[in-house]
Amino acid sequence: MILSLLLSLPVALLTVSGAAVFAHRHPGRSRGIYSATLVLSTVALCVVLIHWLGGHTPATLTLPIGLPWLGAHFRLDALAAFFLVVVNLGGAVASLFALGYGQHEPAPERVLPFFPAFLAGMNLVLLADDAFIFLFAWEFMSLSSWALVLAHHREVANVRAGYLYLVMACFGTLALLLSFGLLAGPQGGYDFATMRAAQLTPGLAALTLVLALLGAGSKAGLVPLHVWLPLAHPAAPSHVSALMSGVMTKVAVYGFIRIVFDLLGEPMAWWWGGLVLSLGGVSAVLGVLYALMQHDLKRLLAYHTVENIGIIFIGLGLALAFQANQMYASAALALTAALFHVLNHSLFKSLLFLGTGAVLTATGERDMERLGGLIHPMPWTALAFLIGAAAISALPPLNGFVSEWLTFQAILLTPELPQWMLKFLAPAVGALLALSAALAAACFVKAFGITFLGRPRSPAAAQARETDRYSLAALFILAALCLLAGILPGLVVDGLAPIVGLLNGGAHLTAQHGQPWLTLAPVAEVKSSYNGLLVLLFMALSGSLAVLLIHRLASDVARRGPAWDCGFPESSPMTQYTAGSFAQPIRRVFGSVVFQAREQVTMPPPGDARAARLEVQLQDPVWDLGYAPITAAVIAVSTRFNVLQYLTIRRYLSLVFGALVLLLLGMVLWR
């Protein structure tokens, strides 16, 4: 019943898509479509929430479509429900934002038909209960988002981004397909129930894991499969970028969890966890380092998605490692951390992308070097963006901190693991995690500081106006959720408990709502605890106390004057620190190793009035070592083979002749 209701929503979304195709001339279509998606996503959100809070018994449904002898299986369990909440929350907020933002879309006919389809695809992936429907929906999701990436296809870079995206999506789908092939076995037991029951040999199970990691990892943006992500996510319209980065990557995480934790069952070797863990650690650090080197705001955010996916996978890797050693209590902590971060990242990444969208609408720019001072014309957007930036930088009392804190707590439990490799790996990954958190803070000081603070660096930035109320509403809903999840983490953890139990042989964290003051104490209070609510209260109290006392007892006068700047006031806005210069110290520290960064200064001779130039060259090691050789090899081989297009007929005949003789010889020898 509930499932058919939930399934009817994607169908309705697809209908909306169809309507968008046919109404491509209607003036009010944009508002109409987005209202429809808003309503549908909200309904789905409410339905799932009600289901979740009301006992969450799994519901199943089989429809006579899809593979004929199998039918289409759908199922709603706690895991799906959680991700459905993430997806539909993101969908609803993005739709709300787009009610305002969509008015500025230059090519609505390339956005409107695909946006509802994209949402429908993501919903269907989560509801699927057999491999065919899962992959079908998965690929459909990729395809509709690909169309959205190409919405502004006149920019050459976007076409390239779309291409890379689609190829990587196909790669991922094929990897998943192979892993499902293993799970299903030669008889083709494609429904998830059969797969769950099937027993794989350790070797095949490990292969399945690797393939699932490749498949889901390429969609989620795990290093080294991330190359498409920072190109594709920014190319789409901002509300779609928000969905892609904030939500679609979570669907990929869902795919990984579903295959590895649910279908595959218990991990069979400790190195599974180690593999996922190290990939997660590398992604976290490389992601944020890449992000620091960017000056395109949306691309910066996209690289941060890589980082956060890394953090999520660190949690998942830890959970695998714990499960492999039957340490279910610890695994529960790691899983909770990962899932919590899934929720958090979807909130603040959507928020940040939507904020960028607002900036884009107001200025037409997403290059930070041409922005600045936007906090004056756009105070509300700036506030919301600031909350998002603080949240993603893992600053208490916001939500990003809670999940990273939980991940750290899980890492702190790794000394209990019996395997040496893991014992060494975990602290190293812990260091990487800490490094990435600190670098993320640096990166968002840059992102917020260069974009919103200082003085405008271009006329467009100077003439910006505050964004519309729909967009603001969307931004503040997300900002409020970031804060709420940050100060009431115990409730979220309790909400995640059934999912963790589902994936973890029944073991989950102890109920948190009984803790005094809603403290979060995942293991025991003597070991570690955190209370975001109290931290917020204390900060608010001490801060307002300071304000009150100082303004009462001392001085509350403020005058305006020119900036002092050590005695050099009134300089041009171009003398401000730019995004590039902000990142320079970090580039010096990390860049020369990771990116082979080279700086080249061209200084005009004395007397020459030309500006001096500083050029920075960065090389992406992943691209250089992984993708470039593959591309080159394919081109080289195909060039070599291309000769075969230009043979003479005689040579073609020789080919046939040769094939015939070869086969006859084979027959003779076969006897």
């Binding site: 007929i649 005689r650 005949l653 046939v656 002749f657 006859l664 003779v668 006897r671």
Partner: protein, 221 residues
């Protein structure tokens, strides 16, 4: 009687293989056409003999077709074409005749080897006949592969078809429909080839296939 019949069939089929070797040996176009006529003549005899020993009158039709079309009409037409194109004197052989002969011998051996495992229950006549037919087919292919000129290519192809007809005739009781269609196909093939050669002459200066292949889109990429 049966033994004699078998021997003669064997002799004629073997004669076809020998003629195929002769085809391979020819360096001049006009000689090649002549040998092809001989090839077809031997085919006529072979098919005729099969018709006689199988008591299959419809095979006489096939033999007649082979005689009229392949032994007489086509060689005549080809002679005319070749003369009109002015290429009756030249025929460059790729590689060398000796090498071709060696390859041909290997092919014949292969054909026999391939037919060996066929169980004895099968008609021995068909079995021997088939081995020779297969050899003729393979030699025809070899001819196509080793010659550069379009006319010799066509001849190679037709000698291959002769091998097919030989095989078909050897198959006891194979319905007539097939033979007729074989003959038909050769006819149609010839017409088409004629058209093509004509067209090709119109548009290309030579019938050398390499010259034709040099003209190709995307060549430089």
């Amino acid at each position: 009687m049966h033994d004699l019949g078998f021997d003669i069939a064997h002799f004629l089929a073997g004669g076809m293989v020998v003629t195929s070797f002769l085809l391979l040996y020819q360096a001049r176009l006009s000689a090649l056409i002549n040998v092809f006529a001989l090839h077809s003549l031997v085919l006529t005899l072979a098919v005729g003999w099969q018709a006689f020993i199988q008591h299959a009158p419809h095979l006489y039709v096939t033999a007649g077709i082979a005689l009229v079309f392949k032994a007489l009409m086509i060689p005549t037409a080809l002679h005319r074409i070749v003369r009109r194109l002015g290429i009756h004197r030249t025929l460059e052989v790729v590689g060398g005749v000796g090498r071709d002969m060696l390859a041909g011998a290997a092919l014949v051996a292969l054909a026999i080897l391939v037919m060996l495992p066929v169980t004895a229950t099968a008609d021995p006549l068909a079995r021997e006949d088939l081995a020779f037919a297969l050899a003729v087919v393979l030699l025809g292919l070899l001819l196509m592969v080793t010659r550069q000129n379009a006319v010799s290519l066509v001849i190679g192809f037709m000698s291959l078809e002769n091998g097919l007809v030989l095989a078909a005739a050897g198959a006891r009781g194979m319905p007539l429909a097939v033979e007729i269609s074989v003959a038909f196909s050769v006819l149609i093939a010839l017409i088409v080839i004629g058209i093509f050669l004509f067209r090709i002459r119109e548009r290309f200066d030579s019938v050398d296939m390499q010259a034709m292949d040099a003209f190709r889109e995307e060549r430089r990429r």
